[in-house]
Symmetry: C2
């Protein structure tokens, strides 16, 4: 018998309780024993809840109960979540979480603490919701040198972009629709400004490349500046605009991590990833490209990933599953300004002016002829090189092309 405590009875926490209860038999069979939900920590009262006997309001009750083997942290943020995670690990309990912000900012400290205490700190649900990515990346692809990871890591922005591309909605209209459908928060900035995707690519980069990358080290650009003119130009060039998180290993060992909208060719499997779906491509030296695709969020998908981690800990109790990396630092990262790409540029200029400045392809689009033009460069260059070519031209939109 393995005892579990859930911290925070919100969307994911209540989903974890549901999945544990709903799959009791098969979970016990697969985990070689019963997993019992013993505590739920929440400040609120849930008198009519089927799990009402589990509720406690003080973390000390969980921390001090030696029968609790696994703590599920679904509080979110880096306040109480950090304090309780530290204390649970110190008390010799394994911790499972879906909290990407906590892992992205304190993952180095917490995985090291878990290692010292001989327990686990697992977070499969922190990236890609229910899509298996953390374990495949750290175990199945372990015999590869990872060269690059890139992906659509945020379902809200992918939904908005899909509606702009397929229904011709403006960014504002698509955002409003996403909010009405419950895909976007009332304050959508964590999603639309790219911060959610940033946390996730930082976690993946740490696992793939072995050093912590802090979110503030990863330049992050969202999608609120994208217009329907950009969508149109991209389409006429056979490409789709997608918000990507990317982590690229440079030859000198440094890693370039950033989040920005990109033009993705229709032939790339990522171009077909629509609505709230996520997809992550991992490029390894032996395996080539591998892609993982599915719903990147949602109560039950995320909860099922948390419970799978709980089962993994339960099956291997007393046998730590190492998942850790080294401390980060300025020498771990390479600035995105060093990265060469082909570029998409929309500018308040004539087609001739752009052609002379950049010499690339000029796709057709709705802006054409109205005092603006767009261009895809033929050559890869840094942003600095691009800006020098564009001297004296007023740019309206600049995005990298994924090649």
């Amino acid at each position: 018998m393995v005892n579990v405590a859930i911290l925070g009875f919100g969307t994911v926490g209540s989903g974890v309780a549901e999945v544990l209860a709903g799959h009791e038999g098969s979970i016990a069979r697969k985990a070689d024993g019963l997993i019992r939900l013993k505590y739920i920590l929440d400040v609120r009262d849930f008198p009519d809840n089927p799990f009402r006997d589990c509720f406690v309001k003080d973390f000390a009750a969980i921390e001090g109960d030696p029968a609790v083997d696994i703590v599920v942290e679904t509080i979110g943020g880096t306040g109480a979540a950090l304090d309780f995670t530290r204390r649970a690990l110190e008390a010799g309990k394994s911790v499972v979480t879906s909290n990407k912000e906590l892992v992205a900012t304190h993952g180095y400290e917490l995985t090291r603490l878990a290692k010292e205490r001989g327990v686990c700190y697992l977070f499969e649900a922190s990236v890609g919701g229910g899509i298996p990515i953390i374990r495949p990346l750290s175990q199945c692809l372990a015999a590869n040198e990872i060269l690059e990871i890139y992906g659509i890591l945020n379902g809200t922005t992918n939904y908005i972009l899909t509606r702009m591309i397929r229904a011709g909605l403006s960014f504002d209209a698509a955002l409003k629709e996403a909010q009405e459908k419950g895909y976007a928060e009332r304050d959508p900035s964590a999603d639309v400004d790219g911060h959610d995707a940033c946390r996730k690519i930082c976690i993946l980069a740490a696992i793939a490349f072995g050093r912590h990358i802090y979110p503030e080290q990863a330049p992050t650009e969202g999608i609120s500046g994208i217009s329907l003119a950009d969508v149109d130009y991209a389409e006429s060039a056979g490409k789709k605009i997608k918000l990507l998180g990317r982590a690229i290993r440079r030859e000198d060992g440094r890693v370039c991590v950033y989040v920005a909208p990109h033009l993705v060719d229709h032939s790339d499997p990522l171009a077909g990833v629509e609505d709230v779906f996520n997809a992550i491509t991992v490029r390894g030296d032996s395996i080539g490209d591998v892609m993982f695709y599915g719903r990147g969020a949602g109560k039950l998908p995320t909860a099922s990933a948390v419970v799978a981690d709980v089962m993994d800990v339960a099956r291997n109790l007393g046998h730590r599953k190492a998942l850790s990396w080294d401390e980060g630092g300025e020498d771990a990262v390479c600035g995105v300004e060093e990265l060469r790409s082909r570029w998409y540029v929309r500018a308040a200029a004539s087609a001739d002016e752009l052609r002379i400045a950049l010499g690339g392809k000029l796709p057709a689009g709705r802006g054409t002829g109205s005092g603006e033009a767009a261009c895809l460069t033929d050559e890869a260059m840094t942003r600095g090189e691009l800006d020098r070519k564009l001297a004296g031209i007023e740019t309206l939109s600049v995005m990298r092309v994924l090649d």
Copy 2:
């Protein structure tokens, strides 16, 4: 220090030696210690090979050496591979393999034997080459009831179909091209007749549903009967022809497993999987659809999956990683004849005759007007029900539609 012996120095076996040698440092770091290649078993001589000091010709040398912890079986087939695998497990050594035929036919016995001896029998590379699927399915998705698994499990047939669809080559011409490129064997029957895909879907079904499914229990149809007329009709209906392995859990717990070409809608991510790529979709009750995509074969992709399994065993030596299922039987499977689908039918009949018989959509295609017509049924039905509707009509091609 963990000692490894490779059985069979063919494509995959030599790839394993290469990956082990080429990634020595990072493998040692990730596996918490050095992994040393001690033996390679092969009947042939390799006097100029960099690994020449490892070669032995008698399995007894490996079996009798207590220093050997892990045996990598890359012999293939069910002859010597079965004998050596049994003996290695009996001798208390873990075995890692890419041999899908052996796992699909003797997986129940071998996983049970490994469990009894407290060692591992791992086979991530047996399905999807280097694509992580076995471990994600058995671990990351463990909190789901799996409802269905379906996928493009054979790269050779997917390459042939892609060339028929995109270049308008006939089956014979596309097969010849695949052989010239080294994607198809001189005797291509294991691939084009669906047997390779059959073994893989049987392995996935056992892991997902908990009982062994033997290849002879899974009706298997290949792609040699597909004509360009079928490709054309499918295209005009917005679909692509793909060879799918499918394993579907029925409400009574039985599993329907089969391999056959299907019409897949362009909106399904599988439709975009081209050339030699594989992709596997897993449908779970909590997670919804998750897809895994990548190169399903090839020396280094497959070898890297074998080495990842070796690293997993090395990291957890003395701690068995359970992966096993129950014995199969007639009561485990449900015949494909019970499965309802919408259907694609091409027949030597007029459009009116087909419309009257089936009442569905009539796509345009190159056969139209030349004494044949094609139809997609609106309703799902069993093959028996379809055949009764088609009484008196000579069918030229019949395929299920994936919905």
